[in-house]
Symmetry: none
Subunit: 198 residues, 4 copies
DNA sequence: TATGAATGAGCTTTCATTCAT
DNA sequence: TATGAATGAAAGCTCATTCAT
């Protein structure tokens, strides 16, 4: 009971730091966000920050990881509603989901930069038991690949590359509109994915 | 004569700042590199820095741009020696060239991060008349695409995406060895490129 | 039984703080040693520190006092083995003992700085009944003086000055090698002591 | 002209830091004096401090050195007025001068602690050409010794030890009144010095 | 253009101290 | 007695920026 309260308290401090940092990173940029500002916003003493993170960048990593994982989690959860069909359909669904999400959340994309990563995602959901459900979803996707003649390993590598590509293209075309607006790039991207997966 | 000397002098200061910054960024990291350190290494007064760049990040951008452009320039220049064949052969040649380069120059890759970009490359060579030769090379590549049923625009967009993908995969697999060592990823990458381009 | 255990426990905590502090003061310097570090090394909670000492400097004083007293105690104990002879012989024996000790324990000397003191020594052994034996030794030395025409008081003052001189010269010549190496200074010091005491 | 103004300015900054630090060290103690307070008092920006000293203790050393050198300088200068007589007369004159000075300036003594040092004094006056006159005085004193059968080296070592002894005794008896009031210790000290030098 | 001493805001970080347990 | 998470004041220090030369 004592312990649980403490842990709760500890978690709530971590979470408050995390969410305060996220909002400041988004609104003012990482370099312009100070630890002072983060703790002030979180209502936590400055010294307490250093009980949880050793510097701003450790916290930044956790924010990016948290946010990028969340997006993939949502996309995956939605994709599961699809009828079992061809993997390229599921892949394109997920890609479209992420693109639409980032179109709505540009500053989140700016923060994540090109650090949307399947590898990081897998690591995170492996560590944490809360994600048992998500692990199930991943298995479904990878199994889908296996049914199309990929080994487990190769399947994961292909997914990895596609997610990296997705992140990069989102950043370029949504933030910089380079080489064209995302709506121009989307069909091209879909076409490329189909060619890769079919 | 006076003017040209000035320009030369100015250029040489710019260049000294550029190369000093590059070396410090590589060896100590961007955040840990101060303007003082850059000017000290360049043998230039601190105040003079502000005559050329408004802050560290402007200089950082120029460094990244310079380095990433250079790599693509070299790859392109080498690729031109290939016999005119299928575009996927040329593409794979360029990709392999870049991968091998980054395997040898990890800290350069760490600096460029995932900012290897075809768009930035095009912009740079457009601005500068020194690159007339390179422009020719680009034209050759894009024309190659045109011969395979792509419009000029679409060709450029495909190249853009491929370069982004290349940058991301290099960073992940060479720096982080994620999801696997680059030598494992290379054949997979080639396979995917062939599927896209053939 | 309960009480004695408590006292024992308290004493053991005091002692653990004392010896942890000593080691840290020696190895990192006083200013660079934090209360956190002392309690961590002692395996004691930070808050507990304040049950025993009110701040770092109180503890430092106890450490210096403890160490400097110990050295004089040892020197005195050894000197007692000498045949009763002239006081300058005993004095020189003690001085030599201390010098040789500090030559072997430079960092202890650095900590004690010039705070080797006969006055502090007397106070300490007066307070503590464990030192009954040492008190006897002191008496022997001072009586030795009395036999040479000094009053009790004057004897103590001369000893006091000699010990101060010893501490200062040790620090200068062993730590700073100023104005010369201790082995050069030793005979000179002996000569001066003989002149004073004979 | 430009240069001289700058140097002047630089010197004045150093001097203002030095004297502000001295006053604060004296009145609040070293540990309780912050760099902020020193620069505030000196009317100098905090960052400027670090152009002159790398930390508080470097400045403290310079303060102690400056003050202790000054006292010895004054004592020496006064002693020169004495008729050429026996060295013990001159020595006792100097010792008395220093004692009387410290009786009037206890907090200066508290700061110098036991760091009154002939070695440090010699170093300082050697470095600085302003002290040509003082160097002359030193020579007179040491020559005085030479006339009494000491080598140059030995003379300096004896003076060194006497000064150390003087500093230690002053601190103990003036600040701590240990083992007795300075007025009680003085004749004893004189007696000891005579024995050593005659 | 070029300099670099000086600035001072504001950062990161420490750490003595408290207090609920 | 004993604990150690939390505090927050305040320290040391950096460094982008300015400006007189």
């Amino acid at each position: 009971m004592h312990i649980s309260r403490r842990i709760l308290n500890k978690d709530s401090k971590r979470e408050r730091l995390l969410s305060s940092a996220y909002e400041l990173f988004i609104s003012k940029g990482v370099n312009e966000t100070t630890i002072s500002a983060i703790t002030r916003k979180a209502g936590i003493a400055k010294g307490t920050f250093y009980l949880y993170y050793s510097d701003k960048y450790e916290l930044l990593n956790e924010v990016i990881l948290d946010k990028s994982t969340n997006i993939l989690k949502k996309a995956l959860a939605e994709s599961i509603k699809l009828p079992k069909g061809h993997i390229s359909d599921r892949a394109i669904f997920i890609v479209e989901y992420v693109i639409e999400y980032f179109k709505q959340h540009k500053s989140e994309l700016r923060l994540i930069d090109k650090n949307l990563s399947w590898g990081v995602f897998l690591e995170k959901i492996d560590q944490n038991d809360d994600y048992a459900e998500i692990k199930g979803l991943c298995k479904v996707v990878i199994d889908d690949f296996a049914n199309h003649g990929y080994t487990q390993e190769k399947a994961e590598q292909v997914v990895f590359i596609l997610i990296e590509m997705l992140g990069s293209v989102c950043y370029s075309s949504i933030i910089l509109e380079q080489p064209a607006h995302i709506d121009t790039m989307k069909p091209l991207l879909f076409e490329m994915i189909r060619k890769i997966l079919d």
